[in-house]
């Protein structure tokens, strides 16, 4: 057992997870994956876990989950199958075998992908030269909402450690009003100021609306015109 323990120790860092470890044990002992001797493999597996504990290596919980699975399969294999069901009873090892095969397939796939022509390893594209960048204000943009989400995430990642101020999305009343007014004017092209006010408006609402319009005028986002003294004030979008 001593030599085996040393062997395990060497491999300690290598196993990615319990499936990886199981595949290693199967290969090392030249076992048939379609007919895994479950008692033997369970013993080997638990010995490995024991080794990790002795070495005070923190075990990922997944290792324990698979240990429990192995023990459960072992127990089920020991139980005699009910006589009438013997024919069609599923092999308790089947799910584990399938998982191992599936995992092995992807390990192989990773290897094959590694044999492809890899950019910046086997082949290089043109180095980037800025002279091809052009100003482009078209709305022809190649991105989707999840690009936005990922972009937002990268900022939060960067901001990690410092306190992020999560501002509540609370509409300021004047800003909200500016929005409303702008929208109405853009749709109608021009409107009479009075129509922005509704009869059930409070004094505050009216003041806010007036502030909003003044603000828009100051920003030159709208223009106003009064054709005659005391006549209607027309608001419109310039140009």
């Amino acid at each position: 057992m001593i030599s085996e323990q040393q062997d395990y120790r060497v491999k300690l860092e290598v196993f990615e997870g319990p499936l990886d470890l199981l595949l290693f044990l199967i290969k090392r002992n030249e076992l048939d994956i379609y007919d895994i001797p479950i008692s033997f493999i369970t013993e080997q597996y638990l010995a490995y876990l024991g080794m990790m504990q002795v070495l005070n290596v923190e075990l990922a919980s997944e290792f324990l989950v698979i240990a429990a699975t192995l023990l459960e399969i072992k127990a089920r294999m020991l139980l005699p199958a009910p006589a009438d069901q013997e024919e069609d009873m599923e092999d308790p090892r089947l799910e584990l075998t399938n998982r191992l095969l599936e995992y092995q397939r992807f390990k192989d796939a990773a290897l094959r992908m590694n044999n492809l022509t890899v950019l910046y390893r086997d082949a290089f594209p043109r180095g980037l030269h800025e002279e091809f960048e052009t100003e482009d204000t078209s709305l022809n943009i190649d991105a989707d909402v999840f690009d936005l989400l990922v972009a937002f995430k990268s900022i939060l990642d960067r901001a990690k450690g410092e306190k992020i101020a999560y501002m509540t999305v609370e509409r300021m009343s004047v800003a909200q009003r500016i929005n409303d007014v702008m929208e109405r004017i853009s749709v109608a092209k021009s409107i009479v100021f009075d129509t922005l006010l509704s009869a059930d408006y409070t004094r505050l609402d009216i003041v806010i609306t007036l502030l909003a319009v003044l603000e828009l005028l100051r920003l030159r986002m709208i223009r106003c015109e009064q054709k005659e003294p005391f006549g209607s004030i027309w608001l419109y979008v310039p140009e």
Binding site: F124, P125, R126, G127, L128, H129, E131, F132, T134, D136, T137, S138, L139, N140, I141, D142, A143, D144, V145, F146, D147, L148, L149, V150, A151, F152, K153, S154, I155, L156, D157, R158, A159, K160, G161, I164, A165, Y166, M167, V169, R171, M172, V174, A175, Q176, R177, I178, N179, M182, A212, E215, L219, M221
Partner: protein
């Protein structure tokens, strides 16, 4: 090594280089090659002539800082045409700024700068030019700063029904459960239980 092979090596170096390639770097790389009677200036001249004469769209130029391939001037008009038919990608800073505005609107420039940790004036202008964001008003703060929000065009570009159809911030946590930092300030949705699937 025959001359064509050495010329091709130099060609590959210049092509792959991010910046115009200084002659001293070319010299360093090919220093292991026995040039025989050949000289590096002679090889550069021959490589330049090769591209100048043949039916290639490229030319090899010696610009201030080094050697560089460029398209020959007559092709510029075609490349301009290309830029008008092809959708452009938003730069990473632009995407980030757009994401901040989308999720945190209405928001001031100072708030954007604070979240990104850098000055955002340039990107905000780009986004305004592309009509993805707009000024939606001013904030009741000293200096009355402008506040920004997303536009109708923004919704169109990203195929969103309305602004509430943006992916949840909670989704970010799904990206990596290891990121506990985020959890402090956010109300949480329970993460989906890791249920095994035998799909396929």
């Amino acid at each position: 090594m025959e001359k064509e092979k050495i010329m091709a090596i130099i060609e590959s170096l210049i092509f792959a280089s991010e910046k115009p390639l200084r002659i001293k770097y070319i010299e360093q790389v090919i220093s292991v090659i026995d040039l025989g009677e050949l000289t590096l200036p002679g090889l550069m001249q021959d490589l330049r002539d090769k591209f100048a004469s043949e039916t290639s769209a490229l030319e090899l130029l010696e610009v201030a800082e080094g050697w560089q391939f460029r398209t020959k001037p007559p092709f510029a008009e075609w490349i301009k045409r290309l830029n008008t038919v092809r959708p452009s990608k938003l730069s990473q800073p632009a995407m980030e700024t757009l994401a901040i505005v989308a999720y945190r609107q209405p928001i001031t420039r100072a708030e954007i700068d604070y979240v990104r940790g850098v000055d955002s004036g340039g990107v905000i202008k780009t986004l305004l030019d592309k009509r993805l964001i707009k000024i939606v008003g001013k904030k009741d703060l000293p200096g009355r700063p402008l506040v920004y929000g997303t536009t109708q065009e923004f919704l169109e570009v990203f195929s969103l029904k309305d602004i509430t159809s943006l992916p949840n911030l909670q989704d970010i946590k799904q990206i990596s459960s290891a990121e506990e930092e985020l959890e402090r300030n956010q109300t949480e949705l329970p993460l989906p239980a890791s249920e095994p699937t035998d799909e396929e």
